[in-house]
C-alpha cells in the first residue's frame, strides 16, 4: 500500500535520477553520411503522395551524390499524416544531427514541422498548400516551393475568364477550412474585378465524400462554370459525380488545385477530358531543366515524374545546393544562402523570395484531352497557359522573426 510519504520520496528519487546523463544515448548521427530528412505521410490516407515524394527525395540525393565531402542519403520519416507523429519524427532526427528537411505534404504537419525544425536550428523546405506557411506563420527556417492559393486562383480563373468571355456565371464548391477559404476569397476578388456573377457557393466538410446534394444545388443555379476548390480525393469525387450528373456537357468544370498526374491516373482519361485543372507541376512543361529531368527519371525509374515526385526532388535539391554553398548544414547559414536565390528550375526561372521564403514560380492551367489524342498513357492534358502571380509578403501577412 502506498502512503503519501513513500509516494513523495519515490517521485523525488525518480526526478533526481533523471537528471543524470543517460548511458546509451547516442550523441549524433552516424558519421559520414549527409542525411536529408524526408518527413512524409508514408502510411495513412496520404500514403500515395508520400510514396512518390520519398522516391523524389531519394532521386535528388542520388543525383547529388556527394556534398561537403559526405555521401548524401535521403531518409524517409513516416509522419503517418499526423502532426503529432511528424513533430516527434523531426525532433528525433534533429537529435541525431539531421538539419535539412524536405517534406511535409499536409498543411497541418508542415506548419508544426517548420516550427520544430527552425527552433532546432535546421531548415525545412515544403510543398504543402496552406498560405500561412509563407504568410502569417512564416519563419526563418521554413521555405515553400508550391504556389499559394492566391496564385493558383489567379493563374486558373483569370485566363479562363479571358478565354471564355461569354461565361459570366460561376458556381463554387469549397471545403470549409482555412485552405478552402483562401481559394474562395481569392476567387471572389477576381470575380468582382472582372464583373463575373458568383451565382452561389456550397461549403462542405473535410470528411465529405458524397457530393450529389451540393451538385444539385449547383445545377439549380445554372452556372456557366463550376469551380471546384477542394483538393486530392475530394476534388476527384466531386468531379466524378459532377460528370455522372451530365454537368460536363452543360458547363465548364475547373479544379483549381489539382495534384496533376497522380490525380489524372486515378480519374482516368474519360473523366479528365475537357476539364480544366490548375497544377503546380506537369511533366510536359517545356523547359530545358524539366526535359532533362523527365528524361533521366524515365530512364532510371521507368515512369513520368508526378507532382509529389518532382516537388520533393526540387526541395531536396535546393537544400543540398544551399548546404554546399553555405559550407555546412546549420540552418541559419543554409537559409541565408537560399534567401533571394535565383536559379533555372523545372518550371523555368524560379526565385526564392527573401522576405517570406516563398518560391516564385509558374502555376499551370491544364486541359484534359480526349483519349484518342493522347500520345502515351500519361499524356492526359495540354498546357493552356501558365504564369506567376503572388501577393507581396506584406499582403500575405508574413512578419519574419
Amino acid at each position: 500500500m502506498l502512503n503519501r510519504r513513500t509516494l513523495l520520496t519515490q517521485t523525488a528519487l525518480a526526478a533526481a535520477t533523471l537528471s543524470a546523463p543517460p548511458l546509451v544515448r547516442r550523441a549524433a548521427a552516424a558519421e559520414g553520411n549527409l542525411v536529408v530528412g524526408a518527413p512524409l505521410p508514408m502510411s495513412g490516407a496520404f500514403a500515395a503522395n508520400g510514396k512518390f515524394a520519398a522516391l523524389g527525395a531519394a532521386f535528388a540525393a542520388e543525383e547529388a551524390g556527394t556534398v561537403l565531402g559526405r555521401k548524401v542519403v535521403a531518409r524517409d520519416l513516416d509522419t503517418e499524416g499526423k502532426p503529432a507523429t511528424a513533430a516527434r519524427k523531426v525532433q528525433e532526427a534533429m537529435a541525431e544531427g539531421t538539419r535539412l528537411f524536405a517534406g511535409g505534404i499536409l498543411s497541418s504537419e508542415a506548419l508544426v514541422m517548420g516550427k520544430e525544425v527552425t527552433n532546432g536550428g535546421g531548415v525545412f523546405f515544403t510543398t504543402a498548400g496552406a498560405d500561412e506557411i509563407t504568410g502569417k506563420e512564416c519563419n526563418r527556417g521554413t521555405f515553400r516551393w508550391s504556389v499559394p492559393t492566391y496564385g493558383a486562383i489567379a493563374q486558373t480563373v483569370r485566363p479562363l475568364i479571358a478565354q471564355m468571355p461569354q461565361a459570366k456565371r460561376w458556381y463554387t464548391i469549397t471545403p470549409q477550412y482555412v485552405f478552402g477559404e483562401g481559394l474562395l476569397s481569392a476567387a471572389k476578388a477576381v470575380f468582382q474585378e472582372k464583373g463575373i456573377e458568383h451565382v452561389g457557393n456550397s461549403y462542405h466538410s473535410l470528411a465529405e465524400k458524397e457530393f450529389s446534394g451540393y451538385l444539385t444545388n449547383a445545377m439549380a443555379a445554372k452556372p456557366d462554370v463550376l469551380l471546384i476548390l477542394s483538393f486530392g480525393s475530394q476534388s476527384s469525387d466531386t468531379l466524378r459525380q459532377a460528370v455522372s450528373f451530365g454537368m460536363k456537357k452543360r458547363m465548364a468544370i475547373v479544379i483549381a488545385w489539382a495534384s496533376g498526374l497522380e490525380q489524372f491516373e486515378a480519374l482516368g482519361p474519360d473523366l479528365c477530358e475537357g476539364v480544366y485543372f490548375g497544377a503546380q507541376y506537369w511533366h510536359g512543361v517545356d523547359t530545358p531543366q524539366n526535359k532533362a529531368f523527365v528524361a533521366k527519371v524515365r530512364e532510371t525509374r521507368k515512369f513520368n515524374p508526378n507532382y509529389s515526385f518532382a516537388g520533393s526532388y526540387v526541395i531536396t535539391k535546393l537544400l543540398l545546393d544551399g548546404a554546399a554553398k553555405a559550407g555546412g548544414i546549420e540552418g541559419p547559414a543554409v537559409a541565408k544562402v537560399l534567401e533571394g536565390l535565383t536559379y533555372a528550375g523545372l518550371t523555368g526561372e524560379e526565385e526564392i523570395r527573401a522576405a517570406d521564403h516563398q518560391v516564385i514560380k509558374n502555376y499551370y492551367l491544364l486541359k484534359g484531352k480526349p483519349k484518342s489524342a493522347m500520345a502515351d498513357k500519361d499524356d492526359f492534358v495540354d498546357i493552356v497557359s501558365f504564369g506567376k502571380s503572388f501577393l507581396s509578403p506584406e499582403a500575405a501577412g508574413c512578419k519574419m522573426t
Binding site: 510514396k51 462542405h204 444539385t216
Partner: protein, 284 residues
C-alpha cells in the same frame, strides 16, 4: 423544387446506406457481435468489381461475383477466426475486427496501391435522365431500383422463409435453437456471410459513384454504425427507415446548413441512444 429533388436524391443515397448497414444489423441481432470489419467487406466488394471490370469482365457479371466472393471470404473468416470469440466480452469482438479491418486496408494498398481508381458505370447506364431543370444520372436510378428489389427480397427472406424464422428465433434464444436440433454454427456462418456479402454488393454498386480507394472502409463503417444505431440493432425495417432518413437528412442539409451536416447526424445518433436505446425500430 430544389427540396423535392434533394429528398429524391437522399432516398437514393439512403438505399445504398441501407444495403451497407442491414448486414451489420442482422449480424448484431443474431450473434450479438459488433463487427468493426464491416466496412472492410464493403471495400473488398468495390475493389473486386473494379478489378474484374478492369480485366474486361462485364459489370453485370462483376456485380454478383463480387458479392459472392466477399460473402464466401467473410464466411471463411467467421468460421476460422471470429466464431472463437463470440463468447468473449465485446472488447475482444472490437479488437479482433478492428485488427481485421486494418489488415484488409493494408492488403488492399499492397495489392492495388495507395492511389484510388475509377470504375465507370456500364455504358448502358452512363447517361442522365432530365426532369425539367434537373438531371439525374441513370446509374443512380438503377441503384435505387435494384436496392428496392433487393430490400423486398431480403424482407421476404427474413420474414417469410424458414431461414428467416430461424434467424429471428436464434437472435432471441440461441439455446432453444440448439435444443431444436439446428446447427447454430452453420446458421451463424451463413448469416455472417450474407451480411458481409450485402456490404460487398453495396461497395460494388457504390464504386461507379464514388470510385475506389483504400480508406473507403472507414467512412462506410461510420455511416453503417449511425444507420444501425438509429434504426435499432437487429432490425431490418429499422435499417431501411434509418438508411433513408440519414440519406435524406444528409442531402437536405447540403442546402440548409452544410457545415452542420455531420454534426446533426451524430447528434441524432446520440439522442436516439439516450432516448430510445433500442433504436427507432429495434425489438424491445
Amino acid at each position: 423544387m430544389t427540396y423535392l429533388f434533394q429528398i429524391l436524391n437522399g432516398i437514393g443515397l439512403g438505399m445504398l446506406y441501407f444495403l451497407l448497414a442491414v448486414g451489420l444489423s442482422v449480424i448484431f441481432g443474431l450473434l450479438q457481435f459488433v463487427n468493426f470489419a464491416h466496412g472492410a467487406f464493403y471495400m473488398l466488394g468495390a475493389y473486386l468489381a473494379y478489378e474484374m471490370v478492369g480485366r474486361g469482365v462485364s459489370f453485370w457479371l462483376a456485380l454478383p461475383l463480387a458479392c459472392l466472393a466477399v460473402a464466401a471470404l467473410a464466411a471463411l473468416t467467421e468460421a476460422a477466426l471470429l466464431r472463437r470469440i463470440y463468447a468473449q466480452a465485446h472488447t475482444f469482438h472490437i479488437l479482433a475486427t478492428v485488427g481485421l479491418a486494418l489488415a484488409v486496408q493494408e492488403i488492399v494498398i499492397i495489392v492495388w496501391g495507395p492511389i484510388g481508381g475509377n470504375l465507370p458505370p456500364p455504358d448502358s447506364l452512363s447517361g442522365v435522365v432530365i426532369l425539367g431543370d434537373f438531371v439525374y444520372p441513370e446509374y443512380r436510378l438503377f441503384v435505387i431500383a435494384l436496392t428496392a428489389i433487393l430490400a423486398a427480397g431480403l424482407w421476404w427472406l427474413l420474414e417469410g422463409t424458414r431461414l428467416g424464422a430461424i434467424v429471428r428465433a436464434g437472435s432471441e434464444s440461441p439455446e432453444d435453437m440448439a435444443l431444436l436440433g439446428y446447427d447454430t454454427r452453420r446458421i451463424n456462418t451463413a448469416v455472417f456471410g450474407l451480411g458481409a456479402g450485402l456490404a460487398g454488393l453495396a461497395g460494388a454498386l457504390a464504386a461507379p459513384i464514388r470510385g475506389v480507394d483504400p480508406f473507403m472502409s472507414v467512412e462506410a463503417l461510420s455511416v453503417a454504425f449511425v444507420v444501425v444505431v438509429i434504426g435499432g440493432m437487429g432490425s431490418y425495417v429499422g435499417a431501411l427507415a434509418a438508411g433513408i432518413a440519414v440519406g435524406v437528412a444528409q442531402s437536405l442539409m447540403t442546402t440548409l446548413w452544410p457545415e452542420g451536416a455531420r454534426l446533426m447526424i451524430y447528434l441524432g445518433m446520440a439522442a436516439v441512444i439516450v432516448m430510445r436505446p433500442r433504436g427507432l425500430f429495434g425489438r424491445a
